[in-house]
């Protein structure tokens, strides 16, 4: 394993990080949840996700990437080093 490689997060850890990022209660999100059912998923939360993805995973998301997210799981899938 490359020593620089970040520890791979479990799905539970990713979910917790996402909940912290968009400031919702721990345990309130699930991967199958439609993002239109998450009222906290607003324009400010999208910017917070952008920052989190870059800082934690080195992933730069575009507007197109963000628009393609339909479920919580779609975001979790991108939460890994590319």
């Amino acid at each position: 394993m490359d020593s620089n490689e970040k520890k791979i997060m479990s799905e539970k850890e990713k979910l917790t990080l996402l909940e912290e990022t968009i400031e919702v209660e721990e345990g309130s999100l699930s991967p199958v949840q439609d993002l239109t059912d998450v009222p906290e998923y607003d324009s400010m939360s999208k910017l917070s996700i952008l920052v989190m993805m870059e800082d934690e995973f080195g992933v730069k998301l575009s507007g197109q990437d963000i628009r393609s997210f339909k479920t919580v799981g779609d975001i979790l899938d991108r939460m890994k080093k590319e």
Binding site: D42, S43, M44, L47, L50, V51, K60, S62, G63, I66
Partner: protein, 353 residues
């Protein structure tokens, strides 16, 4: 384009606002829920803003700021040969508001006056324009007036803002900077950039000549791709600030402050982090004034130094970035005693129409 001047200095900065400051929490009365407001305020850094009076325009604030500089420093108006007014909210379709301001300020006929349609990069781009004309011309001074009344929510009776962010982010302000020609100046370095390919990222495309009709899509007049703007701002401003410091052989320790366009606090923190500036060197005016477009850099200087009697010569690194897409940096020296306290005014121009 990059520019260097060794005969131009900024010898006056002033900013004017109304007396009507409102906290961001007032949006509860306009139907935005408290938690949304709190979250928005925490992320953007906006705590409130000054609201222009119903009849007040950007020109009224810029006029008050310019008049204060002229009076305070007893400037010979006959020596002001350039007046550049940077705004997205001019008084009229025609003539250029700059011409009206030349008249209101009582400047000589030997003056070139025109408007420039730029927003958040307007102050740093405007410095390049005003400094170039001053450098080439026969007069001693140039006036750069920058501002917008972006917080106004109604235009010809129609509500123009549809998103909560658009309603809560902006503030109304007008500023003035006096540029002076003097052979004994420190160098002023400027870098100007444009990427018109990104013009759709921040745009008000309707009710003008290309698209006279506002469509009924409910999205309002002003359109912004938040993500594209966030990525543009953090990448391009960082890149150009680094390029400027490389060209001048400087690093953050060489500057007294970093004066960034006040887009939102999240963006300011990213730029500071990526360029190596400690956060205490980053000027903040967003909290009190909101995002004031091209007025944001001068009003940040006014907020930080306008009431100081330090008698200090500051080295300032500035970066404006936004609508266009357009971005630019300025590295220059400003004396704190040339930065005036904030002006409050409820004046407006009775033009007879």
């Amino acid at each position: 384009m990059n520019l260097v001047f060794d005969d131009i200095r900024i010898s006056g900065i002033a900013a004017a606002v109304s007396d009507n400051w409102s906290p961001i929490t007032d949006f509860v009365e306009k139907g935005i829920d408290e938690s949304t407001i709190k979250k928005f305020s925490a992320k953007t850094g906006v705590k409130g803003r000054y609201n222009a009076g119903e009849k007040q325009t950007t020109a009224d604030f810029c006029f008050a700021a310019a008049r204060e500089i002229i009076q305070k420093y007893s400037i010979n108006k006959g020596e002001i040969g350039t007046l550049v007014f940077v705004t997205q909210h001019p008084d009229y379709k025609s003539p250029a508001t700059a011409c009206v301001l030349q008249y209101r300020l009582g400047l000589s006929e030997e003056c070139l006056a025109f408007d420039v349609n730029l927003g958040c990069s307007g102050f740093t781009c405007g410095l390049a324009i005003a400094a170039s004309l001053l450098h080439m011309g026969s007069k001693k001074y140039a006036l750069l007036l920058c501002g917008d009344t972006s917080a106004k929510e109604f235009f010809v009776g129609r509500e123009t803002k549809k998103t909560n962010a658009a309603k809560m982010l902006f503030g109304d302000c007008g500023t003035s900077a006096l540029l002076e020609k003097d052979n004994a100046c420190e160098k002023m370095y400027l870098m100007e950039r444009t990427c018109g390919e990104g013009f759709r990222a921040i745009i008000s495309p309707y009710t003008w000549f290309r698209h006279p009709q506002l469509p009924s899509d409910g999205l309002g007049d002003d359109r912004m791709d938040d993500i594209a703007v966030f990525n543009f701002s953090t990448e391009k401003a960082t890149e150009l600030l680094r390029e400027s410091m490389k060209a001048t052989g400087t690093n953050p320790e060489d500057y007294d402050c970093l004066a960034l366009h006040q887009a939102n606090h999240l963006i300011l923190k990213r730029i500071a982090k990526f360029t190596g500036f400690p956060e205490d060197k980053v000027l903040i005016s967003l909290d009190e004034f909101g995002n004031t477009s091209s007025a944001s850099i001068p009003v940040s200087l006014v907020k930080r130094y306008g009431n100081d009697d330090l008698g200090k010569r500051l080295r300032v690194l500035m970066c404006g970035y936004g609508v266009g897409l357009s971005w630019s940096t300025v590295d220059c020296f400003i004396d704190t005693d040339k930065i005036l306290p904030l002006i409050h005014t409820d004046e407006f121009f009775e033009d007879g129409y």
